[in-house]
């Protein structure tokens, strides 16, 4: 199954939101759940990044790379990076993979690699 991350487009004014919010930040429509989910594109550019050495207990790795990516179309997301030497502004391509494991749960999210 091809997993995807979705953004939410307001049916009233067309503004695209990520992450989800109950009320459109542009038009303020009060009708609930008046959003259409649409898959985010998987290509973009790296805005900023870090290598985290002090991670919460669930991560059994010494170092985790995390970055912010501006996707084509302008929505910005966070994701994990599988890139040896990330550089700000570099083109990246995302796929949706397991990014966190807890005892009975797995969480899927963006992992970005050099495009």
């Amino acid at each position: 199954m091809q997993r995807q991350i979705y953004a939410y487009r307001c049916r009233e004014c067309g503004t695209l939101h990520y992450p989800f919010r109950m009320r459109c930040k542009e038009c303020g429509n009060l009708e609930v759940f008046e959003f259409d989910a649409e898959p985010l594109p998987n290509k973009g550019t790296l805005v900023t990044f870090t290598h985290v050495h002090n991670l919460p207990a669930e991560y059994e790795v010494a170092r985790l790379s995390i970055g912010a990516v501006e996707l084509d179309g302008g929505v910005r997301v966070m994701g994990q990076l599988d890139i040896d030497e990330p550089k700000m502004g570099m083109p990246v391509r995302g796929s949706v993979e397991v990014v966190r494991r807890e005892a009975y749960e797995r969480y899927w999210g963006f992992v970005f690699r050099a495009a």
Partner: protein
């Protein structure tokens, strides 16, 4: 609305405290009542972020009000992340200003050292957006690191500037007997020497160990009163003159310009305007330097320096004791420590001490106006408080 005064203050030592959370909240409250010579407390607000999660205790205010033998006074716990302290002061302000109460205790406490470092990091990371940030392993140091990289790129801030903040604040903590860190550091030791990478390893690149505040236990309290009650208290008169708050998007990267801390700017503007002051009239400030970069960025957003020039003021020594705009002379979160729920009150404690001219070796000469910035989440819920000394 009525004017609100700080009649009494109290604080614990910060660091590792071996007594229960309710007592960490109650101890500074005892100090504050003794300081003011007042015990007729009508209402208690207890600022705390992690009681339920870290100390396995909920309904903390009920425990504290009884520990202090103040029943049947009203009591509520205030949780607003790392801005819980200033939020509780805001509630106390409203209670007195509205005329509902004349004497309100606002105390804050956190006991963070009873969990290990990984659990403490995860606890703080639960502030982040659950789906857009938290699942990726985003921590508060990670947020600060990504922000730092953007700041370095845009404004020319370097690791040396960050180390200068660390040295300034940690060494300033040596003049504060309540501060967590009592160890002098040098630029050579944490940046320039061959051992610097061992002494000062990366936590979240480009931030290193000494760019991050310690994890602390601690408590602090302010006793807020009406003008009538303040007139009966024989202590220097300090007024809580401005309370400003602003919020911003939960997901940090959604902000139009991720190098701006808009909520800090708005909260400071509101607080100073309410007090009838502007940034140029502030004599002493306590900013929320949980990470060194935040002192630089907040010093710009609250209006002390132009955007992108905070690190230049730091280079010239303007933010040190004796400089034109002394920041975090208490040691700040970096040197004094950061018991999250208590921090906003500890900042107020320092400003009141300064405005009373009782800060000893770290006194800012002739200080009459002070500002605090208590920064919740990664700038998504910020309060700034303005205090003035009344002659």
């Amino acid at each position: 609305m009525r004017d609100v005064y700080v009649a009494g203050i109290g604080i614990t030592s910060f660091g590792r405290l071996e007594y229960p959370l309710a007592e960490i909240a109650a101890y500074p409250a005892m100090m504050a009542m003794k300081d003011a010579g007042l015990t007729a407390v009508e209402q208690l607000y207890v600022a705390n972020m992690g009681g339920g999660r870290l100390s396995h205790q909920t309904g903390l205010a009920s425990a504290v009000v009884d520990t202090l033998s103040l029943t049947p006074a009203g009591a509520e716990t205030i949780e607003n992340g790392p801005a819980s302290g200033a939020s509780a002061i805001k509630q106390g302000y409203l209670a007195v200003a509205s005329g509902m109460h004349d004497v309100v205790l606002v105390t804050g406490a956190e006991r963070m050292r009873e969990v290990n470092n990984l659990d403490a990091t995860d606890f703080i990371a639960t502030l982040t957006h659950p789906l857009a940030e938290y699942i990726y392993g985003v921590t508060l140091p990670a947020h600060a690191a990504m922000f730092t990289r953007l700041y370095m790129d845009k404004y020319g801030v370097t690791e040396r500037h960050l180390a200068m903040v660390a040295v300034k604040n940690q060494n300033q903590a040596l003049a504060n007997e309540f501060a967590h860190l009592q160890q002098p550091i040098t630029i050579e030791g944490i940046l320039d020497s061959p051992e610097a990478m061992t002494n000062n390893p990366y936590v979240a690149e480009p931030l290193r160990f000494f760019d991050c505040c310690p994890v602390s236990d601690g408590g602090a309290c302010v006793l807020l009163v009406s003008e009538e009650v303040a007139a009966s208290v024989d202590r220097p008169r300090v007024r809580l003159a401005g309370v400003g708050q602003a919020t911003d998007t939960h997901a940090v990267i959604e902000r139009d310009d991720p190098t701006e801390l808009t909520a800090v700017r708005l909260a400071a503007e509101k607080s100073l305007a309410m007090a009838g002051r502007d940034a140029s009239t502030v004599d002493v400030a306590e900013l929320h330097d949980a990470f060194t970069i935040l002192e630089i960025a907040q010093s710009e957003e609250v209006g002390f320096f132009a955007k992108g020039e905070g690190h230049l003021a730091l280079e010239k020594g303007e933010t040190g004791l004796g400089g034109s705009m002394p920041i975090n002379v208490s040691g700040g979160l970096k040197g004094k420590g950061h018991p999250v729920g208590a921090t906003g009150i500890a900042q107020a404690h320092e400003i009141v001490t300064q405005l009373r001219h009782e800060a000893g070796d770290r006194q800012v000469e002739q200080a009459t106006t002070g500002l605090t910035c208590n920064f919740g989440g990664f700038g998504n819920n910020v309060l700034c408080l303005t205090f003035t000394r009344e002659s």
